[in-house]
Symmetry: D2
Subunit: 263 residues, 4 copies
């Protein structure tokens, strides 16, 4: 269906294969038709669903499922809006009962404005959910030790933040993201902070398996156009990572501190 | 032929329309078949040809035209290897006689290692070429005053360097590239310095009309894969520019110097 | 004693006042005379001492105290080389018995090459040490939630990493360092990662109370000269922070994405 | 008079020695007493004077000389406000007649908002001034070819912009500044664009001989405090440059693109 992907470069999480390396959110759009159009344009195969915020069951109101087909897209219920481990665990149990979803995205956030992941609560919730049979993709800080432990506990994907949720700042600490990628045996997805297409391209060139984008598409001036931009940006980054870029070369003499100074 | 372009977002130089915003070089490849395959993969419609270096006339040796069809691609003869205005003018006159090419890329370079554009010589050559009826796309420094004067002289496109030729460093001074773009009424192409896909995405998000890439494709580990990456990267940047990105937002209090400090 | 500091701009940790905002390490120098000379040049009043690595008690070998007077400098014993909470706690108890040091720097590290702080072990050790009556300055990740909790537990200073130990990369995530500074009521010191003087200046301009430097001085070509550079750099950053910098101003029109793109 | 400089690390321009590597402007302050206090605090020995804007001769109004002694400070008349070569040459001739100043700073600017140096006009004015016996320190773009030619024409110092005048953005293209420094046999001063202390520290670590600062001091919330910050920042950068910094080290495996990606 796409000329860039689906040609032996799929990635796999919890035994499921995906050609698209762009995972998108379903919230923050002005209405459901726009949500549907942007997701279609993004080429995404997996979408996150904030089960506490999205109408999944009230047949008298517009339902997400009517616009974004659960048959076509892998729904990834998340715990957006949960600030404790308990809330997160309860939310996902209810979601499983309602929709049968076993593959989930766990996020337990600290207070605004950073909404930085609360790591102890995240560990606690991950432990409970894994024990409960969930396949847990986990939003986390860019702490490489924490990332490794979440993997060892049984999380099926590690999702370090690039930058605070909604900030649009792009990957703030590429060194740590790379450390996490290098040591991981499960997929690593950069989550949060992508603001525009080149942030997604950059994240993919670091070597991650996929990128999750929500606000940057939903709140762009033209969400559908930005969805296409993100699709292309993710593909560009993945292809460049695989292609092997030329080295960066400065020209000053060896004795100068240029290598250290050039951004 | 492509789902992203050809949909009303063409750019025009010297009266010719192009859907692809990626211009690629034809040199530095290991052989002509690879050249052809990478150019095909890049989706480019315009290719630069170093007329002093490429075999365009010796029928006993492999000729570029046999691999990269002048019927299919717009050949843009350039003056690579010319270090004076005279050389550059003579080179393009010979090229016009041989191949009829009137739309050309002028570059007059200073010495290695920077190969920085020699601006006085560039002005001199541009003047002579325009007088001679050429349509001149001109490689130049990121000096906004010089860029404006080259346009006023009659150059049909302005091509400021992103970074030194072959450096792969990406756009070093986005502020000046943006100043050039803002004031230009002719197309602006970022030329030189692109090292990988996100550099191309970034350049396009600055608002330029197109990007020229040579070494970053030709010398990548896998040139064909990198050509596809650049194609996608350029499209991503263009789409994101059109889509209108979300603002970047820090979270520190207004009194802090964060805005100034965050890279 | 110094024209820049000591003029009402002291900082206070655990009830002790310091005029110098540069804390330096005592290890990694080629010999003790160089250690002494560099520390003297740095203007530091507080020095970290890796109690497991430095000779503090064998009178038959050169002792740190003979070169860096504990009467003149506040010794800050640290737990370098400790990879578990238990080791860290035991090390500092022994140090207190030996030298009476109550103000300490806790660091519990994960494995090389990052030596990233092991946050759960750090919390565990901090809890035990505080219960034991220690005044704990704590090396930690740039996680603002963790930083706040360490403060709430009773740590007397928060010391987030700028970049991995010994990397010389400077502050990698200024946004998170600023978040930590904004919310802290105890001193915040940027610890680890400073590579050269402008990294120290930059860290201070973020608003932190002090900077800790070790490798960047001890392993510079000329440690004494670099110690003077760091002294000046820290003072420069502090003064600039207090002086209130001019805003950064781009020049492109409001509709362009420049603000977001310029580093 | 200062513990950092005056110890064999002077720089020389047109045969005159200076210990301070910070050159400051005399304009943009709220009043002359503040001008004097900030210059005193900056430790500068050379000050630029916009001869078209500053009162140097009307004895009925406050005169710069009464606050900033020409006996103590080397006055460097500049051509601020000149937009053509003619104006610049005439301005400096008048200044020489009035005050005997032979060492001058030439700047011929293009239009606001960038006030980017007009390089052809700069060359023309430099030629006339040198012929006329002036010792010309020249503000210019970061074009290494132009810089070399200005030196070859006889300019006594090269002063490339770090960023547009008044932008406070810091050095935008350190690579080109380094190229200019590497090839120059006369002093190189980074001029324009410094916004805060760490920009000055950074510029000095690139290896330039001195830094010129005006707006960043004059328009800071507290100009005197910022003058002290700049003094310390310039010294820090110079000392660090001489000391030889540790290399920057990432930790990812050799096959990864980290070196290229880390800013």
């Amino acid at each position: 269906m796409d000329s860039y992907v689906g040609t032996g470069d799929e990635w796999t999480v919890a035994g499921r294969k995906f050609a698209s390396r762009l995972v998108v959110g379903t919230g923050k759009y002005k209405d459901l038709p726009t949500t549907a159009a942007a997701i279609e344009a993004s080429g995404a195969e997996m979408v996150t669903v904030a089960v506490r915020r999205v109408n999944l069951s009230d047949r008298n109101a517009p339902m997400l499922q009517d616009y974004v087909s659960p048959q076509r897209y892998t729904y990834l219920p998340n715990t957006a809006g949960c600030f404790t481990a308990d809330e997160a665990v309860r939310t996902l149990r209810l979601a499983r009962e309602a929709g049968g979803w076993n593959l989930v995205k766990l996020e337990v956030l600290g207070p605004a404005p950073t909404l930085y992941p609360d790591m102890p609560a995240t560990f606690e919730a991950a432990k409970a959910l894994i024990k409960d049979g969930f396949e847990v993709m986990v939003y986390c800080s860019d702490d490489p030790i924490a990332a490794k432990r979440l993997e060892e506990m049984g999380c099926v994907a590690i999702m370090p933040l690039g930058a605070p949720i909604g900030s649009g700042l792009g990957v703030q600490n590429p060194l740590m993201i790379q450390m996490i990628i290098e040591q991981a045996k499960v997929p690593v997805l950069v989550d949060a902070g992508v603001g525009t297409a080149y942030d997604a391209t950059f994240a993919m060139e670091l070597g991650c398996d996929a990128v999750l984008v929500n606000s940057a598409i939903a709140m762009a001036n033209d969400p559908v156009l930005m969805a296409r931009a993100m699709k292309a940006g993710v593909e560009a980054g993945r292809l460049a990572f695989r292609a092997g870029r030329i080295p960066r070369r400065g020209f000053a003499s060896a004795s100068s501190p240029m290598t250290g100074l050039i951004g």
